[in-house]
């Protein structure tokens, strides 16, 4: 495996020096929307749409310029300002517009703009629509900061920013307790991931004296194996939190409590793929440690199976799609862990997935819109006739995700499976089986939602959604079909300088593995059709003793595991400390009641010895201090 020396980015000129406008515009609009209150209730959402379209047009112009310039002049550094300059710290906040980041910028702003437009219709009846769009714009600004940053510290700023926006948007419907709880859960799980990120950046600053991508990439080949593994695993922990990979996966399913466009934008197309971006961006470190890259592959494989499992057993249409998102990101992680052979494929799949998954989430939103926000697929059925546009656009996404030849997902997923077989048979077989399960649960979703007899609740009158919602669907469906074929040959070459990987030959006709994949996919479809298409679907999920079904329906008992291992011990410790605190300390501070009960009782309380107890604690402290000093001397 030969890797190229990373090229130094060239200085920004012309159009590139305005790259910061991409981030600033949505950020400013978000601030305006939040600050200027109800004046903007009528037009605020269009302002937000315009901001994202503006960012998109800048990204498109930069992309066009990059296409015209020579391959070695495509990566452009845009210095912004010196953030911290003291002593050995010289951290400048800057942007790096290179082949990798521009693709992300296009995806974020492009899909983001479509989802903004869609949301104008979806959130039309929500009285807090202006705030919703402010948060969406905030998210776009943060996500662009994340992908355009030229060093890990600025990336971390965006990383926290998208977390914040995600947290705000998951809990957007605050009147639902489940939504608030989901927001909290997402936050906590992401904190664990952030622990990894923070420590990785700390270690980089300590080892390299810089957190800039160029400096880290240049210094990484001389890294000791121990540190390469440590930093790699810490980064992977961060990636797991943000991308909902096992073991930090549990928050993503609950995150579906947010409005559906949020699920499409943040929890399918963009933010959750940040982990994949991080791994690819840090390729120089992962290449130095086989342990760390193997860990990435293992995480990817486990997650792709876990997500598929969950997707197969849920009745909530959004949760099926969430499980599927987990599973597809598992594919990307797997590819990113394979080394240079997989980077381009990981990003390729990320982009096609961004299109078809956003398409399907928005389609699901359109279905829910027509079904009075019911998410249970057992109450759907036969919708293909009444929601034609939604059905056909969804079908494009469906064909893309299961990998029907010619559609977007076929190209990207097939490459990953083949690359996986090259590196490890276990990973290859996992990816292959995963493709079959994907076909199974997606067919189940299609059949239960759009085909079969109508199982609608009373007083539900499904109808097609307005044009602001269907036009984005049509555009996304178009890309779900063609994106794969468009980028198939081009993307490896394009990403070569950024990932340092050589171009692999990809055949247009399927090889033996390709045929095997098609066969597995076909059997998945057939099985799903046999189970769900030929018999009537019960209105209530049948009670099942099948351990696979039970486990899947309970999100693989992720909550139970987290609860037992993390939540309860922490709370118990906290309560224990508080009880001790209360009993010894708190008696006097019980609030107003004590004030009214008179001086005498207060005095009595005082004399019964709280201060004595405090003094006792201090004396214990003295003993502790003495003990530590003595132990230090002995050691």
């Amino acid at each position: 495996m030969i890797t190229l020396e990373a090229l130094a980015p060239v200085a920004a000129t012309g159009m590139f020096s305005y790259a910061w406008l991409m981030i600033a515009t949505p950020a400013v609009v978000a601030a305006i929307l939040l600050l200027f209150g109800s004046i903007l209730d009528r037009i605020g959402h269009w302002l937000a749409v315009a901001a994202v379209l503006f960012s998109f047009s800048i990204a498109a112009c930069l992309f066009a310029q990059q296409l015209q310039s020579a391959p070695d002049a495509r990566a452009v550094a845009v210095p912004m300002f010196e953030w911290i300059t003291t002593g050995m710290w010289h951290i400048s906040a800057g942007l790096l517009v290179d082949q990798l980041s521009i693709l992300f910028a296009l995806l974020v702003t492009g899909v983001g703009a479509l989802i903004h437009i869609y949301s104008v219709g979806y959130m039309a009846h929500d009285e807090r629509r202006r705030r919703f769009f402010a948060y969406l714009n905030l998210f776009i600004a943060a996500m662009l900061t994340l992908v355009l940053a030229d060093n890990y510290l600025v990336l971390f700023v965006g990383w926290e920013g998208v977390g914040l926006a995600s947290y705000l948007l998951i809990g957007f419907w605050q009147h639902k307790p489940s939504a608030a709880a989901a927001g909290t859960k997402a936050f906590v799980m992401n904190r664990i991931g952030d622990l990894g990120m923070t420590m990785a950046i700390m270690a980089m600053l300590a080892l390299f004296g810089s957190s800039a991508f160029t400096a880290v990439n240049a210094a990484a080949p001389h890294l000791e194996p121990f540190w390469a593994t440590t930093i790699g695993l810490l980064l992977l922990l961060g990636a797991c939190g943000k991308s909902a990979q096992v073991p930090l996966q549990a928050w993503l399913l609950d995150a579906m409590e947010g409005p559906t466009p949020v699920s499409a934008l943040i929890h399918a197309a963009t933010m959750v793929t940040a982990g994949v971006y991080l791994v690819v961006r840090s390729h120089a470190i992962f290449e130095m440690s086989s342990a760390a890259s193997t860990a990435v592959v293992v995480v990817g494989c486990v997650t792709l199976m876990a997500g598929a499992w969950i997707g197969s057993s849920k009745d909530d249409i959004k949760k099926v799609l969430a499980g599927s998102t987990m599973s597809q990101i598992g594919y990307m992680m797997l590819a990113a862990g394979l080394g240079p052979v997989g980077y381009a494929f990981a990003i390729f799949h990320l982009l096609t997935h961004g299109f078809f998954k956003a398409n399907m989430f928005l389609g699901a939103g359109s279905v829910m819109h027509g079904m009075d926000d019911d998410v249970n697929m057992r109450h759907y059925g036969g919708l293909a006739k009444v929601m034609k546009v939604t059905f056909w656009t969804f079908a494009m996404g469906y064909l893309a995700i299961i990998g029907v030849p010619g559609f977007a997902g076929y190209f990207s997923k097939d490459h990953i499976i083949e690359a996986a077989f090259e590196v490890s048979t276990v990973a290859g077989v996992t990816a292959l089986i995963g493709a079959g399960i994907t076909a199974f649960y997606m067919t189940r979703l299609m059949v239960m939602t759009f085909l079969g007899e109508r199982r609608w609740r009373e007083k539900v009158h499904p109808h097609e959604s307005p044009w602001v919602m269907t036009v984005p669907l049509i555009i996304l469906a178009f890309f779900s079909v063609v994106a794969g074929a468009l980028m198939n040959n081009w993307i490896q070459e394009w990403l070569e300088p950024a990932t340092g990987a050589h171009v692999q030959e990809t055949a247009l006709m399927p090889g033996p593995i390709g045929w095997a994949t098609l066969l597995v996919v076909a059997s998945g479809i057939a099985l799903a059709w046999w189970i769900f298409g030929t018999k009537p679907v019960p209105n209530v999920a049948p009670a099942s003793g099948n351990p696979f079904t039970v486990t899947g329906r309970n999100d693989l008992f992720g909550d139970l595991i987290n609860d037992t291992l993390v939540v309860r011990p922490t709370l118990a410790v906290s309560r224990g400390v508080v009880t001790g605190d209360d009993r010894i300390i708190d008696a006097g501070a019980d609030g107003l009641a004590g004030v009214f009960s008179g001086l005498s009782s207060q005095a009595r309380r005082l004399q019964t010895g709280q201060v004595r107890a405090y003094a006792l604690t201090m004396t214990i402290g003295v003993v502790l201090v003495g003990a530590v000093l003595i132990l230090t001397q002995l050691a």
Binding site: T85, D194, L195, M202, A206, T570, V577, V611, M618, V622
Partner: protein, 520 residues
């Protein structure tokens, strides 16, 4: 026959301290001489003027080309970069927190202090004083005396001066804690507890001084350092003395297990006083600790570093874990302040000396304190503004839905919470980076890992408050009081500084790095 040399005193260089002290004395005169209705206003003008003048004098002395550094007042005060910086910080935070003392709009024209602190709560005398709208404007000179003590404490160059300064700083605080207008019993109880435990800690400090003197034969930090390098006796005496001094100082810092007083006193004291204590006392105590341990006991750092490291870990642990389940806002901020003490101690442990051009421990500590100080001053000022019929609302549940009642105030409080949590783009984030990296370079990587873990748990505490303010149904009967500029100035400055220090930390980082070498 020995000639007796006249004591020397550098009036010019010590003018900032003297100005504050003089103003405090004039304040007492005002209480005695002026009619009651003029007192409050003149006290407010006096302290604003005095602190302003002291700050100008400080800057002038700092910028003057000669004689602005060195040992002053017969070697009892060490005027060096850290002294200047600490004095500047103390004056700024003293001014901001004392402005909140002067707020009278929130409480129907009365301050947060008892009408007659000496009357028995609930007695006729109290009612009479309240009806006559009496006020204790003595709080201002008291705070100025305390501020004088703090300024001497951080610059003291021998243990005796330090002890006197410690008492000058503490005694007015005990009084101030007991003067709340509402919940007076709680306030008086807090004051008594603070006094008793403070006396105990002073006793430890004094005993430590005596033992250290026994080992070194001097109170002077420089001589202590010399004696450590060239010991005459066994080290048992030194270690015992050092441990006792540490206990006295850690008490004032509010480190576990000497923290018991913090929650009670913070809750019981009038909220403006709590703000004053939370930042100024902490600044002074940390400043003096760093000076004593770096200058005096620097040669024995291998002995005290593990000790402080252990204290830092349990301080962070208790502060963070207990804050998780608090239901009272002031108590939450108290435990938050304990956990911040832990983070600061992490940098104290690092003890990296001032290599030219590098961030050292003192610089990082001071940056942390300034970032924490701005957030703290503003946070406690906001606590005084969230009210119901009975006064300030301290139950966190009462803060629910504050974002809908006053988006501006809730937004500012959210920024402060983010800074406490150390989220990027706030001063608190840079502060945490600075103290962690100081400890990392001091060779305490394990401590940094523990600190990072605790800071992530701590973030949950603060974000819980933000979520409650913005995503919960508004609580009944709780309103945001109409405050005057006396409260709004600290609130606005605190929020702006928290954001500014996160975006442009460079100037302050440069300043604290360039002027962080101790004299001895």
């Amino acid at each position: 026959m020995n000639a007796i040399t006249a004591p020397t005193f550098e009036w010019l260089q010590l003018a900032p301290i003297l100005t504050v002290l003089l103003a405090a004395c004039i304040g007492i005169g005002i209480e005695a001489a002026l009619p009651r209705r003029w007192r409050f206003v003149s006290q407010v003008l006096l302290f604003e003027l005095a602190i302003g003048v002291a700050f100008v004098l400080l800057v002038m002395s700092w910028l003057s080309p000669k004689d602005n550094l060195g040992l002053m007042a017969m070697d009892s005060i060490s005027l060096d970069g850290p002294s200047y910086l600490m004095w500047g910080a103390l004056l700024v935070f003293g001014l901001l927190s004392m402005l909140v003392f002067a707020e009278r709009d929130l409480n129907d024209g009365a301050s947060s202090f008892a009408a007659s602190a000496a009357s028995v709560p609930g007695s006729a005398a109290e009612t009479e004083a309240s009806l006559a709208r009496h006020e204790h404007s003595e709080v201002f000179p008291l705070a100025l005396f305390s501020l004088t003590g703090m300024m001497v404490f951080v610059a003291a160059n021998d243990l005796l001066t330090a002890f006197v300064a410690l008492e000058v700083m503490s005694l007015p605080l005990y009084l101030l804690s007991g003067m709340a207008r509402r919940r007076r019993l709680l306030s008086q109880e807090a004051a008594l507890k603070y006094f008793l435990l403070g006396a105990l800690s002073s006793a430890f400090f004094l005993f430590g001084m005596a033992l250290t003197y026994g080992f070194t034969g001097s109170f002077d930090y420089g001589r202590i350092s010399d004696a450590i390098a060239d010991p005459v006796y066994g080290r048992g005496l030194l270690y015992t003395g050092m441990a006792f001094l540490a206990i006295g100082l850690l008490f004032k810092i509010g480190a576990v297990p000497f923290h018991n007083w913090v929650p009670d006193v913070y809750v019981g004291a009038p909220t403006p006083v709590t703000g004053f204590m939370a930042i100024c006392t902490k600044l002074a105590a940390v400043g003096a600790t760093v000076r004593i341990f770096y200058v005096g006991f620097g040669g024995e750092r291998w002995a005290w570093q593990p000790l402080v490291a252990v204290v830092a870990v349990i301080t962070m642990a208790i502060g963070v874990v207990v804050a998780l389940t608090q239901s009272d806002m002031k108590r939450l901020l108290a435990y938050s302040s304990i956990s911040h003490a832990g983070f600061i101690l992490v940098a104290v442990v690092g003890a990296t000396a001032g290599v030219t051009g590098q961030m050292n421990s003192f610089g990082s500590i001071l940056f942390y304190l300034v970032a924490y100080g701005f957030a703290t001053v503003a946070a406690f000022a906001i606590v005084t503004m969230v009210r119901n019929q009975a006064g300030e609302v301290h139950e966190i549940s009462g803060w629910a839905g504050l974002g809908r009642k006053s988006p501006l105030l809730a937004g500012i409080f959210a920024v402060l919470m983010l800074s406490f949590a150390g989220i990027p783009l706030t001063g608190g984030f840079i502060g945490k980076w600075a103290v962690f990296s100081a400890a990392w370079r001091g060779g305490y990587a394990w401590l940094v890992l523990a600190a990072v873990a605790f800071s992530l748990v701590a973030a949950y505490v603060y974000l819980r408050v933000i979520v409650l303010m913005f995503f919960a149904e508004p609580a009944d009967g709780v309103v945001v009081g109409r405050a005057s500029g006396m409260t709004w100035v600290p609130v606005a400055l605190g929020a702006l500084a928290s954001a500014y220090l996160g975006l442009f930390p460079g100037p302050l980082l440069d300043l604290v790095t360039s002027a962080s070498t101790f004299l001895r």
